[in-house]
């Protein structure tokens, strides 16, 4: 670990602190339908959209209706994405003449992008046409993010409203999230990325002549050694920056290229890398302040922000420390950090990012439900790779996915208030709303679905040599971690992978697709049910006897509940995966 590395991390967190407030204020205004400087341009567009789609913008919805609208929209748009992939051979913007996508892969990808997961079982460069990437995948990057923001706002309204039946209008919330927040930010961000070297074109792939043609020894079909001469390099192109922007801002993470943000065309410089990490945390961090404004308890917003910051720092510290270590199994290799090299575990990492930025990126992308990567998580050190895994297991509530991070965190807040709230001698209450059996039931349901899906699918896969463990590229504890990571990532709607797992099989495409759908919608429904239930309640004015949700003590408690619930659930699995691998590695064992 170097001083420079730590300064980068602290600067990053400092900027996240600085942007939370202005962005939070802006978002509160957008969803309270107050005037913003963008209105002259966007109001007309918004009105046209409502006119075209028959939305009555003054209509308010009960939670059930809100939920059904969300589900129907997700289903319809998921179906459209499936059809686009299947039929991309007939659609425009396909200079590489890529054929339609296979059904199980198309299902997996449709589920993946409409759930904000962006798990990629495919290699984009050779699978998806420019049209599919833009109108199918990037489009879902926008909408799944907008849906997430809408849901978080609906939940906040549930906390804020008193004796009301409704929690807002889904269509309006989603539209405003798209037009006022995502689109303008993406536009600017995309151009900034292009300036750094992220490509944005509709060219066919370029072919260049290698400076030094290469002779490659290969085993031919007949088993004999063949020497191939490679004198050209084909360079994949495409409208990358526009997709890259929403991939980050919408915490989607689905790369235009297979290597995702490790690819020099997606993430060419340390500065573009810094911008991308900021983009992941920007909206989720801002939403904590929006929470503070809308609930009238700004300190509560900051208390939640602080809990997130603590968990973030804990994660990045472990990851940075672990990745800075030398792999004891390698000999004759200089793994020390010097002014000339970053040292540490460089397998799967880019020189321009080094250890600090790779560890930071891995932490950020899994704290949020982004899942973009700028280094190969599968090649991280055992404990370094455990950090992204644990981040997802904790529910991706450390800033988290756009919207989903906040509502996920608020579910934990409800549980924290319930468990610890009793200790102040009152029926637990959250910002004046009593937390009763129904709320606890729904919160538990939404918390339960995560370990249920992850553990059951991982158990099945790890016990099935024919279709489960056969897909792993590493054996020993690391193989188990690959499977565990795949289901954790998909249920958590993260989308990053221990990519050694060859997941483009029937079993994995289908089970991971189901995981993504469960992890998204089965969490959302009970969450909205809580919102609807809270909205109907009376609010008790705060007093000295009220459980405090604005203090450092609350922050500490929230952190403990998240860590303990997450750790207790997954400790056995982790102890046989990364923890065991770490101990064995230090004992000099390889697999």
């Amino acid at each position: 670990m170097t001083m420079n590395g730590w300064i980068q991390i602290i600067v990053f967190l400092g900027v996240i602190f600085l942007i939370a407030k202005p962005l939070g204020i802006f978002m509160a205004r957008v969803f309270d339908r107050e005037k913003t400087f963008l209105d002259p341009v966007l109001r007309p567009v918004e009105r046209i959209l409502y006119k075209l789609t028959g939305v009555n913008e003054s209509e308010e919805m009960k939670w059930g209706e809100y939920c059904i609208s969300m589900l129907i929209f997700s289903l319809v748009s998921m179906l459209v994405l499936y059809l686009i992939q299947r039929g991309q051979g007939l659609l425009p913007f396909n200079p590489q003449k890529l054929a339609g996508v296979a059904p199980d892969l198309a299902f997996n990808t449709a589920a993946s992008f409409s759930t904000n997961t962006n798990w990629q079982s495919y290699t984009p460069e050779t699978t998806m046409s420019y049209f599919t990437q833009m109108a199918g995948l990037a489009y879902h990057n926008f909408m799944s993010a907008a849906v997430g923001i809408a849901l978080a706002i609906a939940f906040i309204r549930g906390v804020v409203r008193r004796e009301k039946e409704t929690i807002g209008n889904f269509w309006v919330d989603m539209t405003r999230a798209t037009l006022w927040i995502l689109l303008p930010m993406c536009f600017i961000f995309a151009l900034a990325l292009v300036s750094q070297g992220v490509v944005q074109n509709f060219r066919a792939y370029d072919t260049v002549k290698l400076l030094e043609p290469q002779h490659i020894q290969k085993t031919g079909a007949d088993g004999k050694a063949v020497t191939q001469t490679v004198s050209e390099q084909v360079i994949a192109q495409g409208p990358v920056a526009s997709q890259e922007a929403i991939k980050m801002l919408g915490t989607n993470g689905g790369g235009f290229f297979n290597a995702n943000s490790a690819h020099p065309f997606e993430n060419p410089t340390p500065f573009s890398n810094f911008l991308q990490m900021l983009a992941i945390f920007a909206i989720p961090a801002g939403l904590t302040y929006t929470l503070g404004i809308m609930t009238g308890a700004k300190l509560h917003g900051w208390a939640v922000w602080s809990a997130m910051a603590i968990l973030f720092l804990a994660g990045v510290t472990v990851a940075y420390w672990a990745e800075s270590q030398a792999n004891p199994l390698l000999h004759g290799v200089d793994q020390h950090a010097t002014l000339m090299q970053s040292g540490g575990n460089m397998e799967g990492k880019e020189v321009r990012f080094g250890i600090a930025d790779s560890a930071l990126f891995a932490t950020v992308t899994t704290d949020a439900s982004c899942g973009a990567i700028n280094g190969v998580h599968d090649s991280f050190m055992p404990l370094g790779g455990m950090v992204p895994l644990v981040n997802i297991m904790l529910g991706e509530v450390v800033f988290g996915g756009v919207g989903s991070g906040l509502y996920g965190m608020l579910i934990f807040v409800v549980l924290t208030v319930f468990i610890a709230g009793l200790m102040v001698g009152r029926t637990p209450e959250y910002l004046g709303k009593k937390i009763e059996a129904y709320d606890v039931k729904m919160a538990m349901l939404s918390v339960l679905i995560f370990p249920l899906t992850v553990l059951v699918f991982t158990a099945i896969s790890s016990a099935a040599p024919s279709f489960g463990t056969s897909a792993t590229s590493n054996s020993g504890p690391h193989g188990l971690t690959e499977i565990l990571y795949a289901y954790t990532s998909t249920v958590g709607n993260n989308g990053s992978a221990f990519a050694g797992l060859s997941a483009n099989t029937h079993w994995y495409n289908v089970s991971l697709g189901i995981s993504m759908i469960f992890g998204r919608f089965l969490v959302i429904v009970p969450m909205l049910a809580i919102a609807g239930n809270l909205a109907q309640k009376k609010a008790i004015p705060p007093s000295l006897g009220t459980f405090p949700v604005t203090t450092p003590l609350f922050t500490l408690l929230l952190v403990s509940v998240i860590v303990i619930v997450g750790a207790l659930t997954f400790f056995p699995a982790l102890s046989l995966g990364p923890i065991l691998e770490h101990l064995l590695m230090n004992a000099g064992k390889a697999f």
């Binding site: 980068q8 600067v11 789609t53 028959g54 059904i68 050779t126 833009m134 990037a138 489009y139 993406c186 151009l191 292009v194 750094q196 070297g197 490509v199 060219r203 792939y205 260049v208 290698l210 030094e212 360079i235 994949a236 192109q237 409208p239 922007a245 297979n258 290597a259 690819h263 020099p264 065309f265 060419p268 410089t269 500065f271 792999n327 000999h331 004759g332 290799v333 010097t338 090299q341 970053s342 040292g343 397998e347 799967g348 990492k349 880019e350 020189v351 321009r352 930025d357 190969v376 599968d378 090649s379 590229s473 590493n474 020993g476 504890p477 971690t481 050694g500 691998e581 064995l584 697999f591």
Partner: protein, 187 residues
């Protein structure tokens, strides 16, 4: 329900046009106007044809060139199949590969530990850069092969070294393709 289905369908179509088509086209148009080179991949022309992209690494095996890092993209630096090795730290294949590369490199430059990035594959498989340490490690071989002074090579490396952004962000790196093009130009 039927109304919501209709709204959902229309909303999907309308927003697809806006976000899936108009938005990327607008970004493309502006990029092509203001950042033409960057938007098209910073391709390097030489002698009437393209020899590569400043951002995409290539394989070099000749002793007279600076070598890039090992690559897991296709057969090596395949820019249509980006990706890493996905080998975990305890994977025997990783250890064998690294040890093999290390002993080969140490033969060229004995008694010096090999900088780690020179024997590890990057995440993209297309990393255009190596660390300054890795470049320096290769100086004796290249100097020998090209009969150039080590100081001259050091100067060339320094000229093609990208420092930290604002002295703060990222790690310094040496762009291998451009360095090798410069080497060739020296002849």
């Amino acid at each position: 329900m039927k109304k919501q289905l209709m709204t959902a369908f229309l909303m999907t179509i309308a927003t697809t046009v806006l976000l899936g088509i108009l938005y990327p086209l607008a970004v493309t148009a502006l990029s092509q106007i203001f950042f033409r080179d960057q938007a098209n991949g910073q391709l390097i022309p030489k002698d009437g044809h393209l020899v590569g992209s400043r951002l995409i690494g290539q394989v070099f095996t000749g002793p007279g060139y600076f070598h890039s890092r090992p690559s897991a993209a296709g057969d090596g630096y395949d820019a249509t199949a980006s990706g890493g090795s996905n080998f975990g730290p305890t994977n025997q294949k990783l250890i064998d590969r690294v040890n093999g590369d290390t002993s080969r490199l140490q033969a060229e430059n004995p008694n010096t530990p090999v900088p780690v990035d020179l024997v590890t594959a990057s995440g993209s498989g297309l990393d255009p850069e190596i660390s300054p340490a890795a470049a320096e490690f290769q100086i004796p071989r290249v100097a020998r092969e090209r009969r150039m002074s080590e100081d001259k090579l050091k100067q060339l490396i320094a000229a093609h070294t990208r420092g930290r952004w604002l002295g703060l962000l990222g790690e310094p790196g040496v762009r291998v393709l451009e360095l090798n093009l410069a080497l060739d130009a020296e002849k």
